[in-house]
């Protein structure tokens, strides 16, 4: 029939059109939403069951944590707590972890973490550890990448605002720490207006390649400016480290105006091998200081020691150690290219990107091409050390990384773009807008001798309209950009936790097969471990009640406890008897005024619980562990103060009252 044929034609034509569209999109990558070619979806698609090619580590900024993402998918894999208490797994709440938060100011439950830095061997990220700084109460931390766990935290004395940290030397000899805020050193009660006379900065070098033994090797006393960021030399410039400074005006109020007066501030070039010589020759002085060193040991117990002295070097007594390179204008980032020759400054308020030459610097030092000397530090002539200036680099250039193919990529905060330019010719060859207000950027290995120059991640402070709105505060975000071709291509937006201040990434193959899967029960040295159910039990020591408890799929032992009294402090020492990968057990008790425990297989962790009222208190496993997870529970009976209810405990209906057999070796 005619109408039917007509309909047939319509159906056929529609079908053909759909096919054509699909085939076209497939073939050409036709334009999709937001002007992004639709074929970029393929570039970031990691199919279900497949794994990402890179690990990316982002600082959480004011969350104080580290987040781990996969690239290219952007999927969030883990949050590693560092400087902030983390109720999700009891970090900083479990008794075994509390010492990690010790400082000379006491227990500090929070900080602001900015710069993750991977350990290096021969100038290449090696995947052993990741270091990260705490800005507010100056500290650096070492995270072990076989466990994704913070293992060591060292406080930095004589510092305030540890922003220029923890950039690493090519063989992980040192990580550095620079004072953003100059302060009186040693800190003391002086008038703020005495800034120019009394306030100083320090550049600190911390021995980094001996786990558990991070130590301050030396601190260099420098003029009272703001020291912002750093990078170590490499190749020919190995043995040097470079620090940006601003506020050479030495303002102590309204810095946004008063610290932007001069045309140039400085990059401090530090010859750390010369500094080592000076220390060896006894040219340093021992300065009293008080600072904490905290280590989570092989025994899974955090310990803290308070150190009392640092070795301080000064330019007048250790000559040839520090030079100033004049650099426009309130420079922020300082980045050394993979060859080690070029030192790129992010001239925050400058209209160019200034690039210094290491080889010209060496010649200028030899020829004493100095403009002046400040506090014993020679200031080299700008023209003598400058390699070139990148013109028209965007507004507010901050940070630069490299792809290993002679290209540099610089973020422009104010104009919200990434600018790609050539080392040597200083020509801008490409630029791409980012959304919005990009701070750092990260290329896997992009600050090392050997970048894996496939992707670039823009770390954006502002997202405005990019995501569904979430009240007064909107997501901050990363954007993944393909840099494998001549033109940069935006591939993906993904939100990040806290402020994604800086990130580093490396191929997953370097660390994924070296993961610790569990802790052997035989190696458990926790003095409160119950190594086997026959070692579980409850003991009263005055008002302290110690419960040595075991957890295994799917019960606690003991799971019934009576004889606790109001006024007692109860210590739940929970040992996870599992020896299987990814079978943590959780532990939570009603009314606990801290957090839960999350206990890894083979590990013991302790929760302190102070019941306030008589009654029955359930406790339970919080981490879904088996089909009978909902059955993994118990009851603690709390009686009034002075009650004569006997202390007894059990699992399965058998009550125990005697002190359990002492655990051999404890």
């Amino acid at each position: 029939m005619k109408t039917q044929s007509k309909r047939t034609v319509i159906v056929a034509v529609t079908a053909a059109a759909v096919l054509g569209t699909l085939a076209y999109a497939c073939r050409t990558g036709g334009a999709g939403a937001g002007g992004v070619p639709s074929d970029v979806a393929l570039a970031v698609y990691v199919a279900p069951g497949q794994q990402d090619e890179f690990y990316a580590f982002f600082s959480g900024g004011f969350s104080g944590n580290l987040t781990v993402h996969g690239l290219p998918s952007g999927r969030l894999l883990k949050t590693v707590p560092v400087f902030s208490q983390f109720p999700e797994n009891g970090w900083g709440y479990a008794e075994e972890t509390k010492a990690m938060f010790n400082t000379s100011f006491g227990f500090i439950p929070w900080d602001d973490s900015h710069h993750p830095e991977l350990s290096q061997t021969d100038g290449v990220p090696d995947g052993r550890w990741l270091f990260i700084n705490a800005n507010n109460t100056p500290r650096v931390a070492r995270i072990d990448l076989t466990k994704f766990e913070t293992e060591e935290i060292l406080q930095i004395p004589n510092s305030a605002g540890n922003h220029g940290s923890p950039f690493i030397t090519p063989n992980s000899e040192y990580i550095v720490a620079a004072t953003r805020f100059s302060v009186p050193i040693p800190n003391r009660d002086v008038g703020i207006e005495s800034f120019a006379d009394d306030f100083k900065g320090t550049l600190t070098f911390i021995r980094a390649n001996q786990p558990g033994e991070m130590r301050i090797a030396f601190q260099i006393l420098v003029p009272g400016y703001n020291y912002d960021l750093a990078h170590a030399g490499k190749g020919p410039s190995d043995g040097w480290a470079f620090f940006t400074s601003y506020n050479s005006e030495q303002a102590h109020t309204l810095l946004e105006v008063n610290a932007s007066q001069k045309d140039k501030d400085f990059i401090a070039a530090v010859n750390w091998k010369r500094a080592e010589e000076c220390v060896a020759q006894g040219l340093g002085s021992a300065m009293p200081a008080e600072y904490a060193h905290n280590v989570l040991g092989e025994d899974r117990l955090a310990r803290s020691e308070m150190l009392t002295s640092v070795t301080v070097l000064e330019a007048p007594t250790c000559t040839d150690m520090v030079y100033f390179l004049p650099t426009p204008k309130s420079p922020h980032g300082v980045d050394v290219d993979p060859t080690g020759e070029y030192i790129v400054a992010g001239g925050k308020l400058a209209t160019v990107i200034p690039v210094h030459s290491f080889s010209k610097m060496v010649v200028a030092i030899a020829n004493k091409e100095f403009e002046e000397t400040i506090d014993g530090i020679p200031v080299l002539k700008y023209e003598s050390v400058m390699a070139g200036e990148v013109q028209n680099p965007g507004l507010g250039p901050l940070h630069t990384e490299f792809d290993g193919r002679g290209n540099a990529y610089t973020t422009a905060f104010i104009s919200s773009e990434i600018v790609k330019w050539r080392l040597g010719t200083w020509d801008v060859v490409d630029r791409i807008p980012v959304y919005y207000s990009v701070g750092h950027l990260s290329i896997p290995g992009g600050d090392s001798r050997q970048p894996w120059g496939k992707y670039l991640i823009a770390l954006n402070k502002i997202t405005k309209d990019r995501y569904l709105p979430t009240g007064p505060e909107l997501a901050q975000a990363a954007q993944l950009i393909d840099i494998s071709g001549d033109k940069m291509r935006l591939l993906l937006d993904f939100p990040t936790m806290g402020e994604p201040h800086y990130g580093q990434a490396l191929p997953a193959s370097i660390i994924k097969d070296r993961q610790v899967k569990m802790f052997a029960l035989e190696d458990n040295r926790n003095p409160n471990a119950a190594l086997g159910e026959d070692r579980a039990g409850v003991e009263r020591k005055g008002n302290a009640v110690h419960v040595k408890m075991t957890a295994i799929r799917t019960h606690f032992n003991p799971d019934n406890i009576e004889g606790i009294r109001v006024g007692d402090t109860v210590f739940f020492h929970v040992t996870n008897l599992e020896q299987d990968w990814d079978i943590p057990h959780g532990f939570a008790a009603m009314g606990a005024q801290n957090a839960e425990l999350l206990i890894m297989p083979g590990e013991t962790r302790t929760l302190v619980w102070v019941p306030k009222r008589a009654g029955i208190y359930p406790f339970y496993c919080t981490d879904f562990c088996s089909a009978l997870h909902q059955e993994m529970q118990g009851y603690a009976r709390v009686s009034p103060a002075g009650s004569s209810v006997a202390l007894r405990w059990g699992t399965g209906g058998t009550w125990n009252t005697a002190t359990p057999v002492a655990n051999d070796g404890n």
Binding site: A15, L19, C26, A520, E533, E578, D580, D582, A627
Partner: protein, 173 residues
């Protein structure tokens, strides 16, 4: 819709689906992924592989032959230590607990089977029909407690020393 229209529409949908799949670039290779998660949770849709007679008798795993001599009390004592640390939270001799009682396990199973159950529980739970039936009764899969072969042998010796006669095994609480 006429039959012709229907055929065209169905064909178009099929081709579109095929094109989309091609676009997606999936290789389909991951379909054959393991039926057991790292936590030992069994996918009930998995079909048990056909097992050999030897596997049905001696279990699936590294142990194919165990030579039992006279009961070695020293070995049994060391085996008891391992059992207390890693096994006793779930297994008693005379009573059903998280897992089955083990007081007569060597009447039910060969020594090789017992060691393979200790050393290779995930595959046993996944593939062995007897263990699959046990999982349906007990619901908690036997975990891998990472014993070495030597430790599993010691536990076997302890179990030999702890076997009880049939009537007392059922007399548990």
């Amino acid at each position: 819709m006429s039959r012709v229209q229907g055929v065209i529409a169905v064909a178009a949908v099929a081709v579109a689906a095929w094109l989309s799949a091609s676009c997606g670039g999936g290789d389909g290779g991951s379909e054959a992924a393991s039926t057991t998660t790292p936590g030992g949770v069994v996918n009930p849709a998995a079909t048990a592989a056909a097992l050999t007679e030897a596997q049905l008798t001696n279990g699936i795993g590294p142990v194919t032959k165990v030579d039992l001599g006279e009961l070695d009390d020293a070995m049994a004592a060391r085996g008891h230590d391992v059992f207390s640390l890693k096994c006793a939270a779930c297994h008693k001799m005379a009573e059903r607990y998280v897992g089955p009682p083990l007081g007569q396990v060597l009447s039910r199973h060969t020594p090789e089977y017992v060691m393979n159950m200790i050393l290779n529980p995930a595959e046993m739970v996944e593939k062995h029909p007897v263990v699959r039936d046990l999982l349906a009764q007990f619901m908690t899969p036997m975990p891998n407690q990472q014993l070495t072969s030597d430790e599993a042998r010691l536990v076997l010796e302890y179990l030999r020393s702890a076997q009880v006669p049939a009537d007392s095994a059922t007399a548990g609480k």
